[in-house]
Symmetry: C2
Subunit: 871 residues, 2 copies
């Protein structure tokens, strides 16, 4: 069969003859010639897609029985491969498995499979509900119960399952990914448990038919998948997969895959994920996202063809608008107004969503009740929504029986409902009567649909289940666009064009524009425009869509934060907010206005006691090291854990024992020493958790995994106990000379030889503007930066101060918080001469001279902080 | 007419009644409500586009007669506006003119006009050639002369004009923009002269019909336009327009506008410009590009409608492929092979282009000849190319009579040439016989077209005229795709699909894929995929295009640099090359291997003489300031110009005069002093250029524009003269006591009070990896960074060292240059303890103690350089 179809690809022929050959093809795909191999896998896919996919899965499972942490490369041989290619495969695997594109192919493949299977399961769930509802049409009450119970059960299960397995799986996941890609470690968000909870919870939640979306959670699922895959491969092959930086790059590619395989929109996926998750984007990572998302979208659509859903690869929601005259130039104002309205609508949606969450939080009685009975809220919401959409009830006026997918297909239809009617046109869709009510106008149905879905979506997305808001918003936008389009069609029955030929208005085009504009307004992105082109498979409306999306963004961004930023604020995630557009007063706030002047530092001549005190008061992860308290010259920074291990080394059991032995030899008493020895060894081998008041100290070092540090912590704990509860120590340390010895040891100066020092911590100048500080923090993913003045440490700025400063001056009420020091600055001639003075002091110290001081010219001072980036 | 068409927009009605009202609308467009105003201008545009555009132009010209540098806001009143709205306009102008979007609208508008006018002019030029050629069909020789002379004259004029006015306008301009956006100042590339030269030169070059492109130069033109516009607005309104950072952001938006209005492809334009010019992209600037490019593309297409070229806004090269079954899944391998072949082709094109340039450079005789007679080379090339395309000659076999635009339209046609023939189908295009030769098969024509155009384009783009290579490459790709498509159509006459229904192959789809793949391979971009969708107005081939583009990129990127990077290397522009994919050995090279250890520095106790020596030996723009030669603690960096002004202050005329006066008072002699006074004032007011050996020194400071520095330079020149040619000085300085005084002054320690010090220059650690160094340099746009070891300055890394290190290990021959020091490192246990030793020294210096040194644990050392970014 096949050999006659494609004589140019003999491999494909071979492939169809020998099922084992698929393995060879898979391993050929791991050969260095990306190009050739992909074409092979492509040629393979159309003769036997399924065997190719199966072989991937097979490989996956054949590897997993081995303990991942101890599997070396040599143990790969028992893999059940045909013996002919085993050695070749191994060679390829070993030499090429570190390449990025293999990882990306695996990621794309897995995600496409997950997406497709999930879609299948969701469609099955929704079909089951319809079947139940349809089967019970004899009794209205039973019908209602079936219609309502089914989603309530699914949603409650989803909420409960997620709650028990991994509460981190709740919600969209895009805000969390944004935070993670910013550099903040949220480890519990990238575990296998979360993956399972998210996938199953999402399937149930969407299967219930509630107005929830798949896109946001899918970004999270893809990131989870990438994190797990890279952990798995790191355990298998080590090497490059252990690189932190690389994993972050892969995470950002994974976000693109998430959107890409959800909508079969590779380009839109890449752009959307960049817009939503990044602040600064490295163009060299661009291809990763494109490659993985394209592969993923390709497999996702190939699966549909393989399943006989489609004849060939086409768009998910294919439209059939006319190509020669897509829209009239004179329709553009209508599109622009649609965009502006969508902008207001998007802002309203974000506001409504936040309002609901905040209301529930503020009402203490509700809050308490909901905290105790976590499943009551989602069940209640589901009950209300499904009651309202009950088709024989109110649902008949708002096309309540349609699923999201069916509604969207109908809304993007290229016929005009108001003029040609609905029923006659929908012969190819079985739900023809949904939009056509005998008593009610199609406009009323549309308006009811928009209004009801609007608040329903806003409420539904606050439920504690894995769910996104993109798709519901997209649907509402499409409905609103359809409404405007139908109105235009009524107003201009013969089209606007005046030159003889009649081009009627296409309301489906308005639906496309509305969908892009509203989803763009809610998420504050422009790339929804690209997503709609890829979703509908037509790009003819590019200019109306772009204009509407930009206008909607302009309106929405000036009114409300994006939905994801709103959730970040609600969840209080440690994210640095973006600087608003045109907030020029940012240039006027400087680091000196926001920095913390009381910096914890240690000097080169610090004693261990000082180190201990510093450790116990501050909370920053690193501490500044200065030359001396007088000079304050910043030499570097030391990690907290390093200092703790220094302390523990000084007071460690070895030295303690040495001391005791020496002491014993001096005094000649043996019994005491033995007792002390026994005590110390017991301390040394003690495996019980430290006493409760010390858990705080302990938690700081829990993420340093090297043994010496862990070894040290235990002693640090006892050291902390010494100073906090001396009475307690006397019992622990029965020998008074040990306590005395410890006091002596603490007074000794610190030996920094064994200490890892970061010799170039990031430094800012007092006069660096807030704008520049924000840029540097975002670019480098900093946690804090020291503020120095000619080498002297004068303060520290951490993410917290920066966030406060930005949020303080971007208040919603419009009142700008002005830093108290900024007002002095505006007078111009009072520019601080502190920098020069400091330098002068230093200079005098070295020279022993005292020359008359001249004031610095103000124009020089003004340019000081510009030097940094513009050189 | 209008009131009945759009009753919802009364303003549009008003607009059509009163011509003066357009002004009001323009100023309404400056109101804070971006949304409303843009819709107003949109509603205006369809009743009277021309008046709106005219009013923009009018405003432009009404402002320009005023001297831009001195025009204050108060002088805006004499503008010829209707008195009703003058005050309101002024208020709007004053309050809103700083907003970014006004700038972007102006930029988009101007560029759309330029693009449209240029297209018009080019079409006119090409039409003129055809007309001449057609009118002379009686005499073959005359016809040939006309066909050949016309392009030779145009190209020679273009080359000469550009050479005379601004040689910077030659070539594409994208490499230069890439360098400028990287932070390197290439001022002469953004002047008004270059703008004029580029626009006129490009129009002539493209009008000649040579295989040259418009895209690359248009990116440059848009950037020029943005730079000039922001300079103009800065002169008018000052404030925000003077911000350097903002201007860079605007430049990157301008690049998007350039592509956007050239192809009417806003999304593709933004992405292409990001891929081509940026290394790290700030997502917050994303909207700027989208907004400006969309507006520009919109106006560009509206102009076409206004000129009756089009009925409504559609794509530039609209295709009409079938929507329901765009391609068969089983065609994908053919698309993949097409992509791979395009990858090889793209690499070959870049190689060929570089080879031609390098050949000409190496052949000294050719080189000398061409340098003397600059216009000979373009004339010769044009002569050869136009001779070969002469339609009655060889041109008849390669569709030589068609312009680029006509060829592209034909190639993207949705019919199958080989089966349906060509002539019958081309009824809607007048050049039906171009592809159909009575004796020659259409395949031969296509192959000849591809081969000839390939080398012609590679040669033509080396001519010293403003020209790009994107469009020719795009055309070749389309022809190659058409060739593959026609071959497929011959092989599968009834399509591949087996399920009964016959879907014939669409060779036009292959043309689209080929065009995207080849242009993607040459430029190393993925976004050409988006550009073809926007150019053709159809997105149905998204998956084949994406797959082919990615494969083409994979092949081309592994063989050759992109065309723009190749030009950067040829032109030796100061650009930091990208790190290649998967060059993991980069992690093994560290800063200590590449840094310059012999750093020029000054200490706090340096004398003026030392400063003078340092200034005369080094060439870096900034110098390090350390505490003392012993401690070497880095305190900051000082700009070269600052030191020069310090020196000039010390030896300046005021102090000189003071000294002479005091000296005179001491000695009582008056005549000498007067003479010296006269001499000094003559030095002070001297406006003649400095003597030739000093121009080098002078050029360093030429970009510092503040008067004090300029004032100082002149004296520095004389100081430099003092030390270089003492004999000469004696003549200049007739008074021996002045020379003596100067020597005294030079021995004095420097007073840093009047000096602008950057207290936080960027610091790296010796163990920072090359990969990380590259990231930091790219992110922050650094020129150099100091390498410190616990505060002590040990070296400096500049862009030059980094470039060398990267290029050294990415040799084409595959031999990796390994830094000599790296081999020692791999032994593992010999990790350098220099850092600890340094710290120890410092510590000992302060403590006066000497403790036994313990070796550092190697695992701590290994993590040292990770601290920087991962904290």
């Amino acid at each position: 069969m096949l050999e006659c179809i494609c004589p140019s690809f003999p491999l494909a022929f071979l492939c169809s003859c020998c099922p084992h050959f698929s393995f060879l093809i898979f391993f050929c795909a791991l050969s260095p010639f990306l190009s050739l191999s992909l074409s092979l896998s492509l040629s393979a896919c159309y003769c036997d897609y399924f065997s190719l996919i199966l072989c991937f899965i097979f490989l996956w499972f054949s590897l997993s029985p081995f303990s991942p942490t101890h599997l070396s490369l040599s143990s790969l041989s028992p893999l059940s491969l045909s013996p002919v290619c085993t050695s070749r495969c191994q060679k390829f695997l070993i030499s090429r498995v570190g390449e990025d594109w293999i990882f990306l192919i695996l990621l794309g493949l897995v995600m496409a499979l997950v997406s497709w299977v999930m879609d299948y399961a969701i469609a099955f769930c929704q079909q089951a509900q319809k079947w139940m509802y349809g089967g019970l049409d004899s009794n209205m009450l039973l019908q209602y119960l079936a219609w309502v119970t089914y989603p309530v059960v699914l949603i409650t299960f989803s909420a409960g399952f997620t709650q028990i397995l991994s509460p981190q799986a709740v919600g969209s996941g895009i805000p969390e990914m944004k935070t993670i890609l910013r550099g903040v470690v949220l480890k519990e968000y990238l575990t296998f448990k979360t993956f399972v909870a998210k996938v199953i919870g999402l399937t149930c939640a969407l299967g219930s038919g509630m107005p929830l979306g798949k896109e946001g959670p899918f970004v999270h699922v893809a990131s989870l998948c990438a994190a797990l895959l890279s952990k798995f491969l790191a355990a298998l092959f080590g090497g490059i997969y252990k690189n932190e930086l690389r994993n972050t790059e892969m995470l950002s590619a994974a976000c693109a895959v998430g959107v890409g395989c959800c909508f079969a929109a590779p380009i839109g996926g890449v752009l959307f994920s960049i817009e939503v998750t990044s602040t600064f984007f490295a163009v060299r990572n661009y291809w990763r996202g494109f490659f993985a998302a394209t592969f993923s979208a390709f497999i996702f659509r190939v699966l549909a063809v393989w399943n006989q859903d489609e004849e060939t690869i086409t768009a998910l929601f294919k439209t059939r608008f006319r190509l020669d005259f897509p829209f009239d130039l004179q329709e553009l104002p209508a599109f622009a107004i649609l965009g502006i309205a969508c902008g207001f609508g998007g802002a309203l949606f974000v506001y409504l969503n936040r309002l609901i969450v905040e209301c529930m939080r503020k009402q203490k009685t509700i809050n308490k009740f909901l905290l105790r009975k976590r499943l009551v809220y989602p069940a209640m919401v589901t009950l209300i929504i499904s009651t309202l959409t009950f088709p024989p009830g109110f649902g008949q006026f708002m096309a309540g029986q349609l699923t999201q997918h069916e509604s969207l297909v109908a809304l993007l239809d290229n016929r005009t409902w108001c003029r040609q009617g609905v029923a006659e046109e929908f012969d190819y869709i079985s739900h023809s009567h949904a939009w056509k009510h005998p008593q009610v106008n199609v406009f009323i149905t549309l308006i009811l649909f928009i209004v009801m879905k609007f608040w329903m979506s806003a409420v539904a997305t606050t439920m504690p289940v894995p769910c996104g808001a993109f798709m519901p918003v997209f649907l509402i936008g499409a409905a609103f666009g359809r409404l405007v389009g139908e109105t235009m069609a009524v107003m201009f029955p013969d089209g606007i064009h005046a030159d003889g030929s009649v081009y009627p208005i296409v309301p489906g085009g308005y639906a496309v524009v509305g969908a892009a504009a509203l989803s763009g307004a809610v998420t504050h992105t422009v790339s929804t425009a690209v997503i709609v082109f890829e979703l509908t498979g037509q790009i003819s409306h590019i200019l109306p869509v772009m204009i509407a999306v930009i206008l909607a963004n302009a309106v929405a961004q000036s009114l409300q934060p994006s939905l994801y930023d709103s959730i970040i604020r609600i969840k209080k995630l440690p994210y640095l907010p973006e600087l608003g557009m045109g907030h020029h007063e940012k240039y006027n706030i400087r680091v000196e206005d926001i920095m913390v002047r009381d910096v914890r530092y240690i000097t080169l001549s610090s004693s261990y006691r000082e180190v201990q005190e510093v450790l116990m008061t501050g909370q920053l992860k690193t501490l500044a090291l200065v030359e001396s308290t007088d000079s304050m010259i910043l030499l570097g920074s030391i990690e907290r854990s390093q200092l703790q291990s220094l302390l523990s080394l000084q007071l460690g059991p070895t030295r303690r024992l040495d001391h005791l032995r020496r002491h014993a030899q001096d005094n000649g008493t043996h019994t005491h020493t033995l007792g002390a020895h026994a005590h110390l060894t017991s301390l040394d081998t003690m495996d019980s958790p430290p006493s409760p008041p010390c858990t705080h100290t302990h938690s700081y070092t829990s993420n340093t995994s090297n043994t010496s540090a862990r070894h040290g912590v235990r002693f640090l704990v006892s050291v902390a106990e010494v100073s906090r509860t001396p009475a307690h120590v006397r019992i622990l340390n029965p020998l008074p000379q040990i306590a005395e010895w410890e006091e002596q040891q603490l007074d000794e100066p610190v030996d920094f030889n064994n200490c890892k020092i970061d010799p170039a911590p990031f430094q800012l100048v007092e006069r660096t503007s807030l704008h520049k500080t924000h840029t540097i923090f975002s670019l480098l993913g900093l946690d804090h930066a020291y503020v120095t003045s000619t080498g002297r440490l004068v303060g520290v700025v951490s993410l917290r101060e920066l966030r406060k400063a930005i949020e303080g001056s971007v208040t919603v009420t419009g009142v700008k918080v002005r830093p108290p020091l900024a007002s002095f600055r505006d007078s111009g001639n009072t520019t601080s001469v502190s920098e020069v003075t400091e330098l002068h002091k230093l200079w005098n110290r070295h020279r022993g001279l005292s020359l008359p001081r001249e004031p610095t010219p103000p124009d020089m001072e003004d340019q000081l902080d510009l030097v940094f980036l513009c050189e």
